[in-house]
């Protein structure tokens, strides 16, 4: 294609877009997110905490903890009277699910904790190592959710399907 000075904005635009796409698709290795990065059906497995993956040659980083998934081993919620429908849903959700994304957990606590609800929870990582035990509302690492980009509530299975684990 003939290139003239008029083409410079087009070259700039196309390059920026290309770089954006490539960077976004490499987000799983940077620890930002997994979904929507062309990872579906790829069997790519990532352990963000140990910073390892099953890729042949791309190493793993974890610049954030947004991609963490935690296993819920036990939960106690007090009190449960006079709560709105959304709070009740969140509490049911935490009780029923086995795994949860850390950012989603923060988002839920952001709604529940200001209502003076105590959430005693025991969380482990994928290696069954203890991650947290105690009142989640008092824990600083569960405050302030950051993620505007959506993230799935449950970890994907090996085929990249978002299936809810049986409770």
């Amino acid at each position: 294609m003939k290139t003239s000075s008029f083409d410079l904005p087009w070259i700039f635009l196309t390059t920026i877009f290309g770089l954006f796409f490539l960077t976004h698709n490499m987000f799983p290795y940077l620890g930002y997110r997994y979904e929507g990065c062309q990872t579906m059906y790829s069997s790519l497995k990532i352990d963000y905490q140990r910073k390892i993956n099953n890729h042949f040659f791309i190493p793993q980083w974890a610049f954030t903890d947004w991609g963490f998934y935690l296993d819920i081993k036990g939960i106690q919620v007090q009190p449960q009277v006079s709560l709105d429908k959304k709070s009740l849903f969140f509490i049911d959700f935490l009780r029923e699910t086995k795994s949860i994304n850390l950012e989603t957990f923060r988002l839920i606590l952001d709604y529940l904790c200001p209502q003076q609800i105590r959430i005693k929870i025991y969380l482990t990582d994928f290696r069954e190592q203890p991650f947290f035990e105690g009142d989640a509302c008092k824990e600083s690492k569960f405050r302030n959710w950051h993620l505007l980009i959506p993230i799935q509530l449950f970890p994907a299975n090996e085929r990249g399907e978002l299936k809810r684990p049986s409770s």
Binding site: M1, D7, P9, W10, L13, T14, F17, G18, F20, F21, L22, H24, N25, M26, P28, E35, G36, C37, Q38, T39, M40, Y41, S42, S43, L44, K45, N53, N54, H55, F56, F57, I58, K86, F89, F90, F93, L107, L148, I149, P150, Q152, L153, F154, E158, R159, G160, L162, K163, R164
Partner: protein, 311 residues
């Protein structure tokens, strides 16, 4: 917009694909919480945002898709880009790979239109950009698959092997697929995703033959995994892999009855393969099969015309 006809038609088909994309069950789950526990995604997804929010975003994307089908204008592009981004940056209806690709294509076109006023002269450049976005997406998908799990010839670990297992089931073959077929499928799927677009574009004489192979591949994928929107978006890219004059020759097939009738018969045969599905999925597959038949007939026609001229 003064687009060339194939870019114009491509955008209209993009709108149709977007309708496919948002018409999945998860969307209804968002609006109809009583069905939440029945469907396979996340029960209570709607609780993270209000119903009003979902309604506004869904209506915005839906109207944008209709607008894109009716007339892809700068305003429609702007509309759908805003609502699509709102959808993507919240808990969207379906966050899947191709949604970001489609949004990227729409944003790229919108910005190109703002930068280049006379867009008919720029159609080729916009088409180049769309090809690049698709290539980078396919390439990334292939790179992600270079991992120890995907290359195991085991349907439980690798999707490449799973597709073959599913194909044997669909074709009602009484035997289990041999291991070498799993390995072959894994290799072919990675090679196809990584190399299909550059190989097709590098071919001059046999480009139509390569595109026919490309379309057969997506038909096979649809038949085995039943993902009509992802395969639809990949299929319609074939329009942008040919020249404007060739697309004009294919469009002639839309004339009734010389072109349309044989295509409809062909499409009926294709739909027959999807008869196991029900409801909305069958209707989407029907539209898919009609368009696939149309494109196949067009590319085969041009290919034979080229062979005739060459001989």
């Amino acid at each position: 917009m003064n687009y060339s006809s194939r870019l114009y038609d491509y955008n209209r088909l993009l709108g149709l694909g977007l309708l496919f994309h948002i018409s999945h069950l998860e969307t209804y789950q968002t609006f109809l919480p009583q069905y939440s526990s029945r469907f396979w995604l996340v029960p209570g997804w709607h609780n993270f945002f209000s119903h009003q929010f979902f309604f506004v975003v869904f209506s915005g994307v839906f109207m944008g898709a209709i607008g894109l089908i009716v007339k892809p204008s700068r305003f429609v592009l702007l509309w759908i880009c805003i609502f699509g981004l709102l959808d993507y940056f919240t808990f969207s209806f379906r966050v899947v790979n191709h949604y970001l690709v489609i949004l990227g294509i729409l944003w790229y076109q919108l910005l190109s239109n703002i930068i280049f006023r006379d867009s008919i002269r720029q159609s080729e450049k916009i088409i180049f950009g769309i090809r690049l976005i698709f290539f980078l997406s396919f390439f990334s998908a292939a790179v992600h698959k270079l991992n120890s799990s995907y290359w195991l010839p085991d349907p439980k670990e690798s999707f490449g092997a799973f597709v073959i297992e599913r194909a044997f089931e669909k074709l009602l073959l009484p035997i289990k697929p041999p291991t070498f077929l799993f390995s072959l499928s894994i290799f072919v799927s990675v090679a196809f995703e990584g190399l299909a677009i550059p190989i097709i574009l590098s071919l001059r004489l046999n480009r139509f033959l390569a595109i026919i192979g490309y379309l057969v591949f997506w038909f096979f994928v649809l038949l085995t995994i039943r993902g009509p929107d992802y395969t639809f978006f990949s299929m319609i890219l074939s329009i942008l892999l040919i020249d404007e004059s060739d697309w004009q020759a294919i469009r002639v097939l839309g004339r009734w009855p010389q072109g349309t009738l044989p295509i409809l018969i062909f499409a009926c045969l294709s739909v027959w393969l999807f008869l196991g599905d029900s409801g909305w999925r069958l209707s989407i597959h029907t539209v898919w099969a009609v368009l696939w038949s149309f494109l196949m007939a067009g590319f085969i026609r041009i290919y034979y015309r080229r062979v005739k001229c060459a001989s």
